[in-house]
Protein backbone atom coordinates (compact mmCIF):
# COMPACT_ATOMS: atom_id res chain seq x y z
CA UNK A 1 0.00 0.00 0.00
CA UNK A 2 1.18 3.51 -0.75
CA UNK A 3 -0.08 6.98 0.05
CA UNK A 4 -2.38 7.03 -2.97
CA UNK A 5 -4.05 3.82 -1.84
CA UNK A 6 -5.00 5.59 1.39
CA UNK A 7 -6.23 8.81 -0.23
CA UNK A 8 -7.49 7.78 -3.64
CA UNK A 9 -8.26 6.51 -6.12
CA UNK A 10 -10.35 9.20 -7.74
CA UNK A 11 -13.25 7.04 -8.83
CA UNK A 12 -16.90 6.86 -9.70
CA UNK A 13 -18.80 5.40 -6.74
CA UNK A 14 -20.23 3.71 -4.88
CA UNK A 15 -17.77 0.88 -4.15
CA UNK A 16 -14.05 0.52 -4.69
CA UNK A 17 -14.36 -3.27 -5.01
CA UNK A 18 -17.70 -3.55 -6.81
CA UNK A 19 -17.57 -0.44 -9.01
CA UNK A 20 -13.96 0.71 -9.50
CA UNK A 21 -12.66 -2.89 -9.37
CA UNK A 22 -15.22 -4.09 -11.92
CA UNK A 23 -14.44 -1.17 -14.24
CA UNK A 24 -10.74 -1.91 -14.00
CA UNK A 25 -11.26 -5.60 -14.78
CA UNK A 26 -13.15 -4.58 -17.94
CA UNK A 27 -10.59 -1.94 -18.85
CA UNK A 28 -7.62 -4.30 -18.45
CA UNK A 29 -9.46 -7.00 -20.43
CA UNK A 30 -10.03 -4.51 -23.25
CA UNK A 31 -6.33 -3.59 -23.29
CA UNK A 32 -5.20 -7.21 -23.16
CA UNK A 33 -7.60 -8.00 -26.00
CA UNK A 34 -6.07 -5.25 -28.11
CA UNK A 35 -8.91 -4.56 -30.52
CA UNK A 36 -12.34 -2.96 -30.54
CA UNK A 37 -14.88 -5.33 -28.99
CA UNK A 38 -17.83 -6.40 -31.15
CA UNK A 39 -19.52 -8.47 -28.48
CA UNK A 40 -18.91 -9.33 -24.85
CA UNK A 41 -20.48 -12.05 -22.77
CA UNK A 42 -19.96 -11.29 -19.07
CA UNK A 43 -20.52 -13.70 -16.19
CA UNK A 44 -20.58 -12.44 -12.60
CA UNK A 45 -19.82 -14.75 -9.72
CA UNK A 46 -19.95 -14.42 -5.92
CA UNK A 47 -20.92 -11.06 -4.47
CA UNK A 48 -20.50 -9.44 -7.90
CA UNK A 49 -23.72 -11.25 -8.84
CA UNK A 50 -25.53 -10.95 -5.49
CA UNK A 51 -25.04 -7.22 -4.78
CA UNK A 52 -23.59 -6.11 -8.10
CA UNK A 53 -26.59 -4.26 -9.48
CA UNK A 54 -26.91 -1.88 -6.55
CA UNK A 55 -23.21 -1.09 -6.86
CA UNK A 56 -23.39 -0.52 -10.60
CA UNK A 57 -21.00 -3.46 -11.17
CA UNK A 58 -22.74 -4.23 -14.48
CA UNK A 59 -22.41 -0.68 -15.79
CA UNK A 60 -18.85 -0.44 -14.51
CA UNK A 61 -17.54 -3.57 -16.24
CA UNK A 62 -19.16 -2.59 -19.55
CA UNK A 63 -17.64 0.89 -19.16
CA UNK A 64 -14.26 -0.75 -18.68
CA UNK A 65 -14.73 -2.93 -21.76
CA UNK A 66 -15.46 0.28 -23.68
CA UNK A 67 -12.08 1.58 -22.51
CA UNK A 68 -13.24 3.87 -19.72
CA UNK A 69 -11.07 4.40 -16.64
CA UNK A 70 -12.39 4.15 -13.06
CA UNK A 71 -12.89 7.93 -12.76
CA UNK A 72 -14.83 8.35 -16.01
CA UNK A 73 -18.05 10.20 -15.22
CA UNK A 74 -19.77 8.42 -18.11
CA UNK A 75 -19.59 5.02 -16.33
CA UNK A 76 -23.29 5.20 -15.31
CA UNK A 77 -24.22 5.67 -19.01
CA UNK A 78 -22.10 2.80 -20.31
CA UNK A 79 -25.02 0.69 -21.56
CA UNK A 80 -26.25 3.50 -23.80
CA UNK A 81 -22.71 4.28 -24.97
CA UNK A 82 -22.14 0.59 -25.84
CA UNK A 83 -25.29 0.64 -27.91
CA UNK A 84 -24.20 3.79 -29.73
CA UNK A 85 -20.79 2.31 -30.48
CA UNK A 86 -22.30 -0.98 -31.62
CA UNK A 87 -20.80 -3.13 -28.86
CA UNK A 88 -23.19 -5.95 -28.00
CA UNK A 89 -23.09 -7.37 -24.50
CA UNK A 90 -24.87 -9.70 -22.16
CA UNK A 91 -24.49 -10.05 -18.38
CA UNK A 92 -25.33 -13.32 -16.68
CA UNK A 93 -24.73 -15.07 -13.38
CA UNK A 94 -22.00 -17.68 -13.64
CA UNK A 95 -21.28 -20.62 -11.39
CA UNK A 96 -17.52 -20.62 -11.01
CA UNK A 97 -16.19 -20.56 -7.48
CA UNK A 98 -12.62 -19.62 -6.63
CA UNK A 99 -11.56 -19.86 -3.01
CA UNK A 100 -10.63 -16.56 -1.39
CA UNK A 101 -11.93 -14.54 -4.36
CA UNK A 102 -15.46 -13.36 -3.60
CA UNK A 103 -15.77 -10.99 -6.57
CA UNK A 104 -15.02 -12.51 -9.95
CA UNK A 105 -16.06 -11.92 -13.54
CA UNK A 106 -15.49 -13.91 -16.71
CA UNK A 107 -15.52 -12.09 -20.04
CA UNK A 108 -15.82 -13.85 -23.40
CA UNK A 109 -14.81 -11.28 -25.97
CA UNK A 110 -15.18 -11.20 -29.75
CA UNK A 111 -13.44 -8.43 -31.67
CA UNK A 112 -14.43 -6.46 -34.74
CA UNK A 113 -11.81 -8.41 -36.71
CA UNK A 114 -13.00 -11.78 -35.44
CA UNK A 115 -10.44 -12.25 -32.65
CA UNK A 116 -11.66 -14.15 -29.59
CA UNK A 117 -10.43 -14.16 -26.01
CA UNK A 118 -11.75 -15.26 -22.62
CA UNK A 119 -10.49 -13.55 -19.49
CA UNK A 120 -11.23 -14.19 -15.82
CA UNK A 121 -10.67 -11.31 -13.41
CA UNK A 122 -11.11 -10.77 -9.67
CA UNK A 123 -11.66 -7.61 -7.69
CA UNK A 124 -9.52 -7.98 -4.59
CA UNK A 125 -10.42 -4.83 -2.61
CA UNK A 126 -9.64 -1.13 -2.63
CA UNK A 127 -10.05 -1.01 -6.42
CA UNK A 128 -7.20 -3.45 -6.96
CA UNK A 129 -7.68 -6.42 -9.25
CA UNK A 130 -6.07 -9.65 -10.33
CA UNK A 131 -6.26 -11.30 -13.76
CA UNK A 132 -6.72 -14.99 -12.97
CA UNK A 133 -6.92 -16.56 -16.41
CA UNK A 134 -6.44 -15.74 -20.07
CA UNK A 135 -7.75 -18.18 -22.69
CA UNK A 136 -7.78 -21.08 -20.26
CA UNK A 137 -4.27 -20.48 -18.94
CA UNK A 138 -3.99 -19.63 -15.27
CA UNK A 139 -2.29 -16.28 -14.55
CA UNK A 140 -1.86 -14.03 -11.55
CA UNK A 141 -1.06 -10.39 -12.10
CA UNK A 142 -2.38 -7.08 -10.82
CA UNK A 143 -2.09 -4.95 -13.97
CA UNK A 144 -0.41 -2.25 -11.85
CA UNK A 145 2.79 -2.26 -13.92
CA UNK A 146 3.67 -2.91 -17.59
CA UNK A 147 2.97 -6.60 -18.15
CA UNK A 148 4.03 -8.96 -20.92
CA UNK A 149 2.14 -12.18 -21.52
CA UNK A 150 4.01 -14.54 -23.80
CA UNK A 151 2.44 -17.77 -24.99
CA UNK A 152 4.91 -20.26 -26.40
CA UNK A 153 5.31 -23.95 -27.12
CA UNK A 154 5.99 -25.83 -23.91
CA UNK A 155 9.63 -26.72 -24.60
CA UNK A 156 12.84 -25.89 -22.71
CA UNK A 157 14.74 -22.68 -23.26
CA UNK A 158 12.19 -19.92 -23.79
CA UNK A 159 12.99 -18.01 -20.61
CA UNK A 160 16.63 -17.91 -21.70
CA UNK A 161 15.62 -16.51 -25.08
CA UNK A 162 13.22 -13.87 -23.77
CA UNK A 163 15.43 -12.53 -20.97
CA UNK A 164 18.26 -11.12 -23.17
CA UNK A 165 15.76 -9.21 -25.32
CA UNK A 166 14.48 -7.45 -22.21
CA UNK A 167 18.01 -6.88 -20.93
CA UNK A 168 18.93 -5.18 -24.20
CA UNK A 169 15.98 -2.84 -23.69
CA UNK A 170 17.17 -2.05 -20.14
CA UNK A 171 13.87 -3.36 -18.83
CA UNK A 172 13.96 -4.56 -15.25
CA UNK A 173 11.77 -7.57 -14.49
CA UNK A 174 9.78 -7.12 -11.27
CA UNK A 175 8.07 -10.51 -11.25
CA UNK A 176 7.97 -13.46 -13.61
CA UNK A 177 5.54 -16.37 -13.54
CA UNK A 178 5.43 -19.48 -15.66
CA UNK A 179 2.18 -21.32 -16.28
CA UNK A 180 0.99 -23.94 -18.70
CA UNK A 181 -2.22 -25.57 -19.80
CA UNK A 182 -0.86 -29.12 -20.06
CA UNK A 183 2.68 -30.48 -20.26
CA UNK A 184 3.96 -30.25 -23.80
CA UNK A 185 1.22 -27.97 -25.11
CA UNK A 186 1.18 -24.20 -24.50
CA UNK A 187 3.17 -22.45 -21.80
CA UNK A 188 2.67 -18.87 -20.66
CA UNK A 189 5.16 -16.41 -19.22
CA UNK A 190 3.70 -13.46 -17.33
CA UNK A 191 6.37 -10.80 -16.85
CA UNK A 192 5.67 -7.68 -14.79
CA UNK A 193 8.21 -4.98 -15.60
CA UNK A 194 9.42 -1.76 -14.00
CA UNK A 195 9.64 0.03 -17.36
CA UNK A 196 7.50 0.27 -20.48
CA UNK A 197 8.44 -1.99 -23.38
CA UNK A 198 8.94 -0.64 -26.89
CA UNK A 199 7.06 -1.76 -30.00
CA UNK A 200 10.29 -3.04 -31.55
CA UNK A 201 11.02 -5.15 -28.49
CA UNK A 202 7.57 -6.72 -28.65
CA UNK A 203 8.14 -7.40 -32.37
CA UNK A 204 11.44 -9.11 -31.51
CA UNK A 205 9.67 -11.30 -28.95
CA UNK A 206 6.96 -12.18 -31.48
CA UNK A 207 9.63 -13.17 -34.00
CA UNK A 208 11.16 -15.79 -31.69
CA UNK A 209 10.53 -19.26 -33.10
CA UNK A 210 7.96 -21.16 -31.05
CA UNK A 211 6.38 -18.01 -29.63
CA UNK A 212 2.68 -18.23 -30.40
CA UNK A 213 1.38 -14.96 -29.08
CA UNK A 214 2.63 -11.87 -27.25
CA UNK A 215 0.18 -9.67 -25.41
CA UNK A 216 1.37 -6.45 -23.83
CA UNK A 217 -0.38 -4.39 -21.20
CA UNK A 218 1.01 -0.88 -21.20
CA UNK A 219 0.47 1.58 -18.34
CA UNK A 220 0.66 4.57 -20.69
Amino acid sequence: MNLFDIIGPIMVGPSSSHTAGACKIGNVARRLFGEEIKSAEVFFMGSFSSTGKGHGTDKAIIAGLLGMAVDDIEIPDSFEIAEKRGMKFSIKTGNEDIEGKPNIARMNLVGVNGKKMTILGASVGGGRIEILEIDGVETSFSAESPTLIIQNEDKPGYVAEVAPILVNEHVNIATMQLHRKKRGTVAVMVIECDQEISVSCIAALRALPGVLEVTYLSMM
Binding site: N2, L3, I6, P9, I10, P14, G54, H55, G125
Partner: protein, 290 residues
Protein backbone atom coordinates in the same frame (compact mmCIF):
# COMPACT_ATOMS: atom_id res chain seq x y z
CA UNK B 1 4.48 3.45 4.96
CA UNK B 2 5.13 3.81 8.66
CA UNK B 3 3.97 1.22 11.17
CA UNK B 4 3.25 3.66 13.99
CA UNK B 5 2.55 7.34 14.52
CA UNK B 6 5.24 7.43 17.18
CA UNK B 7 7.75 6.47 14.48
CA UNK B 8 6.65 9.43 12.32
CA UNK B 9 6.85 11.74 15.33
CA UNK B 10 10.36 10.48 16.05
CA UNK B 11 11.42 11.23 12.46
CA UNK B 12 9.80 14.65 12.73
CA UNK B 13 12.00 15.44 15.73
CA UNK B 14 15.23 13.85 14.49
CA UNK B 15 15.09 15.34 10.99
CA UNK B 16 13.47 18.59 12.14
CA UNK B 17 10.87 18.48 9.38
CA UNK B 18 7.09 18.67 9.77
CA UNK B 19 4.89 15.56 10.06
CA UNK B 20 3.50 15.94 6.55
CA UNK B 21 7.00 16.13 5.09
CA UNK B 22 8.00 12.87 6.79
CA UNK B 23 4.99 11.19 5.15
CA UNK B 24 5.72 12.77 1.78
CA UNK B 25 9.41 11.85 1.70
CA UNK B 26 8.66 8.27 2.68
CA UNK B 27 6.14 7.91 -0.13
CA UNK B 28 8.43 9.64 -2.67
CA UNK B 29 11.08 7.10 -1.81
CA UNK B 30 8.71 4.16 -2.13
CA UNK B 31 7.16 5.27 -5.41
CA UNK B 32 10.21 6.87 -6.97
CA UNK B 33 8.55 10.26 -7.23
CA UNK B 34 10.07 13.70 -6.78
CA UNK B 35 8.57 15.91 -4.07
CA UNK B 36 7.03 18.13 -6.78
CA UNK B 37 5.49 15.16 -8.60
CA UNK B 38 4.06 13.87 -5.35
CA UNK B 39 2.64 17.28 -4.44
CA UNK B 40 1.07 17.58 -7.91
CA UNK B 41 -0.67 14.23 -7.43
CA UNK B 42 -1.98 15.28 -4.02
CA UNK B 43 -3.25 18.57 -5.46
CA UNK B 44 -5.11 16.55 -8.08
CA UNK B 45 -6.77 14.58 -5.27
CA UNK B 46 -7.71 17.71 -3.36
CA UNK B 47 -9.12 19.33 -6.51
CA UNK B 48 -11.21 16.22 -7.20
CA UNK B 49 -12.49 16.40 -3.60
CA UNK B 50 -13.64 19.99 -4.14
CA UNK B 51 -15.28 18.98 -7.41
CA UNK B 52 -17.13 16.16 -5.67
CA UNK B 53 -18.88 18.79 -3.53
CA UNK B 54 -19.43 21.27 -6.35
CA UNK B 55 -20.92 18.65 -8.69
CA UNK B 56 -23.54 17.51 -6.19
CA UNK B 57 -27.03 17.32 -7.59
CA UNK B 58 -29.85 17.21 -5.01
CA UNK B 59 -32.23 15.80 -7.62
CA UNK B 60 -30.23 12.62 -8.25
CA UNK B 61 -31.21 9.41 -6.50
CA UNK B 62 -29.23 6.19 -6.17
CA UNK B 63 -30.31 3.16 -8.22
CA UNK B 64 -32.14 1.75 -5.17
CA UNK B 65 -33.71 5.19 -4.56
CA UNK B 66 -32.75 4.90 -0.88
CA UNK B 67 -30.28 7.78 -1.08
CA UNK B 68 -30.24 11.27 -2.55
CA UNK B 69 -31.39 14.80 -1.82
CA UNK B 70 -30.39 15.11 1.85
CA UNK B 71 -27.38 17.31 1.14
CA UNK B 72 -29.82 19.74 -0.48
CA UNK B 73 -32.05 19.74 2.59
CA UNK B 74 -29.19 20.68 4.88
CA UNK B 75 -28.01 23.30 2.37
CA UNK B 76 -31.43 24.99 2.60
CA UNK B 77 -31.25 25.08 6.39
CA UNK B 78 -27.68 26.36 6.27
CA UNK B 79 -28.67 29.18 3.94
CA UNK B 80 -31.17 30.35 6.53
CA UNK B 81 -28.54 30.05 9.29
CA UNK B 82 -30.88 27.77 11.21
CA UNK B 83 -28.56 24.89 12.03
CA UNK B 84 -28.54 24.26 15.78
CA UNK B 85 -24.83 23.49 15.63
CA UNK B 86 -24.05 26.76 13.82
CA UNK B 87 -22.98 27.71 10.31
CA UNK B 88 -19.55 26.13 10.31
CA UNK B 89 -20.63 22.72 11.61
CA UNK B 90 -23.63 23.04 9.30
CA UNK B 91 -21.25 23.36 6.37
CA UNK B 92 -19.33 20.27 7.49
CA UNK B 93 -22.55 18.24 7.72
CA UNK B 94 -23.77 19.49 4.35
CA UNK B 95 -20.56 18.57 2.55
CA UNK B 96 -20.26 15.14 4.18
CA UNK B 97 -23.79 14.30 3.02
CA UNK B 98 -23.28 15.71 -0.45
CA UNK B 99 -20.11 13.74 -1.13
CA UNK B 100 -21.38 10.48 0.36
CA UNK B 101 -24.65 10.80 -1.56
CA UNK B 102 -22.78 11.54 -4.78
CA UNK B 103 -20.82 8.34 -4.22
CA UNK B 104 -24.02 6.32 -3.84
CA UNK B 105 -25.33 7.96 -7.03
CA UNK B 106 -22.31 6.86 -9.13
CA UNK B 107 -20.65 10.25 -9.27
CA UNK B 108 -16.90 10.88 -9.08
CA UNK B 109 -15.40 10.97 -5.57
CA UNK B 110 -12.03 10.40 -3.92
CA UNK B 111 -11.84 7.27 -1.76
CA UNK B 112 -10.42 8.51 1.55
CA UNK B 113 -9.64 5.99 2.79
CA UNK B 114 -12.59 4.12 1.20
CA UNK B 115 -15.47 5.03 -1.10
CA UNK B 116 -17.97 4.37 1.70
CA UNK B 117 -16.22 6.93 3.94
CA UNK B 118 -15.35 9.37 1.15
CA UNK B 119 -17.26 12.30 2.66
CA UNK B 120 -15.39 12.65 5.94
CA UNK B 121 -11.93 14.00 5.11
CA UNK B 122 -13.04 16.41 2.35
CA UNK B 123 -16.02 17.74 4.35
CA UNK B 124 -13.66 18.67 7.19
CA UNK B 125 -10.81 20.04 5.07
CA UNK B 126 -12.86 22.01 2.54
CA UNK B 127 -15.00 23.57 5.29
CA UNK B 128 -11.86 24.66 7.16
CA UNK B 129 -10.38 26.13 4.00
CA UNK B 130 -13.57 28.09 3.39
CA UNK B 131 -13.62 29.24 7.00
CA UNK B 132 -10.03 30.44 7.29
CA UNK B 133 -8.75 30.84 3.73
CA UNK B 134 -5.83 28.39 3.79
CA UNK B 135 -3.94 28.01 0.51
CA UNK B 136 -4.41 24.87 -1.58
CA UNK B 137 -0.79 24.01 -0.84
CA UNK B 138 -1.47 24.07 2.89
CA UNK B 139 -4.53 21.87 2.31
CA UNK B 140 -2.36 19.39 0.44
CA UNK B 141 0.01 19.29 3.40
CA UNK B 142 -3.01 18.47 5.58
CA UNK B 143 -3.89 15.65 3.15
CA UNK B 144 -0.41 14.19 3.64
CA UNK B 145 -1.08 14.26 7.38
CA UNK B 146 -4.39 12.43 6.83
CA UNK B 147 -2.70 9.87 4.58
CA UNK B 148 0.06 9.34 7.13
CA UNK B 149 -2.50 8.53 9.82
CA UNK B 150 -4.47 6.28 7.44
CA UNK B 151 -1.31 4.46 6.42
CA UNK B 152 -0.45 3.65 10.02
CA UNK B 153 -4.01 2.43 10.68
CA UNK B 154 -3.82 0.23 7.56
CA UNK B 155 -0.52 -1.21 8.79
CA UNK B 156 -1.62 -1.76 12.41
CA UNK B 157 -5.22 -2.77 11.73
CA UNK B 158 -7.06 -2.20 8.45
CA UNK B 159 -9.13 0.34 6.57
CA UNK B 160 -11.60 -2.26 5.34
CA UNK B 161 -15.14 -2.74 6.61
CA UNK B 162 -15.01 -6.38 5.57
CA UNK B 163 -11.97 -6.90 7.80
CA UNK B 164 -12.65 -4.70 10.85
CA UNK B 165 -16.13 -3.24 10.50
CA UNK B 166 -17.23 0.35 9.97
CA UNK B 167 -14.87 1.57 12.70
CA UNK B 168 -12.10 0.84 10.18
CA UNK B 169 -13.75 2.99 7.49
CA UNK B 170 -15.65 5.88 9.12
CA UNK B 171 -13.50 5.60 12.26
CA UNK B 172 -10.25 5.73 10.30
CA UNK B 173 -11.53 8.57 8.11
CA UNK B 174 -12.49 10.52 11.22
CA UNK B 175 -9.06 10.00 12.80
CA UNK B 176 -7.38 11.09 9.57
CA UNK B 177 -9.55 14.22 9.30
CA UNK B 178 -9.05 15.13 12.97
CA UNK B 179 -5.26 14.95 12.67
CA UNK B 180 -5.29 16.95 9.44
CA UNK B 181 -7.49 19.62 11.01
CA UNK B 182 -5.17 20.02 13.98
CA UNK B 183 -2.21 20.37 11.63
CA UNK B 184 -3.89 23.34 9.92
CA UNK B 185 -3.97 25.17 13.27
CA UNK B 186 -0.35 24.65 14.10
CA UNK B 187 -0.42 21.17 15.58
CA UNK B 188 2.76 19.09 15.43
CA UNK B 189 3.03 15.30 15.47
CA UNK B 190 2.01 14.84 19.11
CA UNK B 191 -1.13 16.98 18.62
CA UNK B 192 -1.98 15.27 15.31
CA UNK B 193 -1.65 11.91 16.98
CA UNK B 194 -3.75 13.04 19.97
CA UNK B 195 -6.60 14.22 17.73
CA UNK B 196 -6.54 10.94 15.79
CA UNK B 197 -6.72 8.99 19.06
CA UNK B 198 -9.63 11.06 20.39
CA UNK B 199 -11.56 10.70 17.14
CA UNK B 200 -11.15 6.96 16.72
CA UNK B 201 -11.88 6.18 20.37
CA UNK B 202 -15.40 7.58 19.86
CA UNK B 203 -16.11 5.25 16.97
CA UNK B 204 -14.58 2.00 18.21
CA UNK B 205 -16.87 -0.95 17.80
CA UNK B 206 -18.87 0.52 14.93
CA UNK B 207 -20.42 -2.31 12.91
CA UNK B 208 -20.45 -2.49 9.11
CA UNK B 209 -24.08 -3.50 8.54
CA UNK B 210 -25.23 -2.02 5.23
CA UNK B 211 -28.84 -2.67 4.23
CA UNK B 212 -28.98 -4.89 1.12
CA UNK B 213 -25.17 -4.76 1.06
CA UNK B 214 -25.25 -1.33 -0.56
CA UNK B 215 -23.04 1.65 0.32
CA UNK B 216 -26.12 3.65 1.28
CA UNK B 217 -27.88 2.87 4.60
CA UNK B 218 -26.37 3.68 7.09
CA UNK B 219 -23.12 4.60 5.30
CA UNK B 220 -24.12 8.01 3.94
CA UNK B 221 -25.24 9.44 7.27
CA UNK B 222 -22.30 7.90 9.11
CA UNK B 223 -20.08 10.18 7.07
CA UNK B 224 -21.71 13.03 9.00
CA UNK B 225 -20.77 11.60 12.39
CA UNK B 226 -17.25 10.88 11.13
CA UNK B 227 -16.80 14.47 9.99
CA UNK B 228 -18.35 16.23 12.99
CA UNK B 229 -16.49 13.93 15.37
CA UNK B 230 -13.25 14.93 13.65
CA UNK B 231 -13.99 18.61 14.28
CA UNK B 232 -14.83 18.08 17.96
CA UNK B 233 -11.73 15.92 18.42
CA UNK B 234 -9.61 18.64 16.82
CA UNK B 235 -11.16 21.24 19.09
CA UNK B 236 -10.54 19.15 22.20
CA UNK B 237 -6.92 18.72 21.15
CA UNK B 238 -6.43 22.42 20.42
CA UNK B 239 -7.90 23.15 23.87
CA UNK B 240 -5.10 21.06 25.34
CA UNK B 241 -7.12 17.96 26.24
CA UNK B 242 -5.09 14.77 26.12
CA UNK B 243 -6.18 11.30 25.14
CA UNK B 244 -5.26 8.94 27.98
CA UNK B 245 -4.64 6.16 25.45
CA UNK B 246 -2.04 6.91 22.74
CA UNK B 247 -3.18 6.73 19.10
CA UNK B 248 -1.04 3.71 18.18
CA UNK B 249 -2.67 1.73 20.99
CA UNK B 250 -6.14 2.91 19.95
CA UNK B 251 -5.43 1.56 16.44
CA UNK B 252 -4.40 -1.77 17.96
CA UNK B 253 -7.56 -1.81 20.07
CA UNK B 254 -9.61 -1.24 16.92
CA UNK B 255 -8.01 -4.25 15.29
CA UNK B 256 -8.62 -6.34 18.40
CA UNK B 257 -12.29 -5.33 18.39
CA UNK B 258 -12.50 -6.03 14.66
CA UNK B 259 -11.17 -9.54 15.19
CA UNK B 260 -13.84 -10.13 17.84
CA UNK B 261 -16.65 -8.88 15.62
CA UNK B 262 -19.05 -11.42 14.22
CA UNK B 263 -18.74 -11.80 10.46
CA UNK B 264 -22.42 -10.82 10.15
CA UNK B 265 -21.51 -7.20 10.94
CA UNK B 266 -18.48 -7.01 8.65
CA UNK B 267 -19.95 -5.89 5.33
CA UNK B 268 -21.85 -9.14 4.74
CA UNK B 269 -25.32 -7.62 5.29
CA UNK B 270 -26.09 -10.57 7.57
CA UNK B 271 -26.51 -8.68 10.81
CA UNK B 272 -27.16 -5.34 12.51
CA UNK B 273 -29.27 -2.82 10.59
CA UNK B 274 -29.23 -5.01 7.48
CA UNK B 275 -31.31 -7.70 9.17
CA UNK B 276 -33.77 -5.50 11.04
CA UNK B 277 -37.41 -5.95 10.01
CA UNK B 278 -37.26 -2.83 7.87
CA UNK B 279 -33.78 -3.59 6.57
CA UNK B 280 -34.95 -6.97 5.31
CA UNK B 281 -38.10 -5.45 3.80
CA UNK B 282 -35.97 -2.94 1.85
CA UNK B 283 -33.64 -5.73 0.73
CA UNK B 284 -36.59 -7.76 -0.51
CA UNK B 285 -38.04 -4.78 -2.40
CA UNK B 286 -34.70 -4.12 -4.14
CA UNK B 287 -34.36 -7.78 -5.19
CA UNK B 288 -37.89 -7.75 -6.65
CA UNK B 289 -37.23 -4.53 -8.56
CA UNK B 290 -34.15 -6.12 -10.12
Amino acid sequence: MYNSLSQIIKEEKVKKIPFWKVVQLDDCHEEELTEDESMAKVLELYTAMKESVANYDAKTKSRSALVGGNGGKVEERNKKHEMLCGDFMGSVIEKALKIAESNACMKRIVASPTAGSCGVVPAVLISLQERDGFSDEKMCEALYVAAGIGGVIAAKASISGAADGCQAEIGSASAMAAGAAVYLYGGAGADISNAAALALKNLLGLACDPVAGLVEVPCVKRNVIGATNAITSADLTLAGIKSRIPADEVFEAMHQIGKNMNVGIKETAEGGLATTKTGLKITEAIREAD
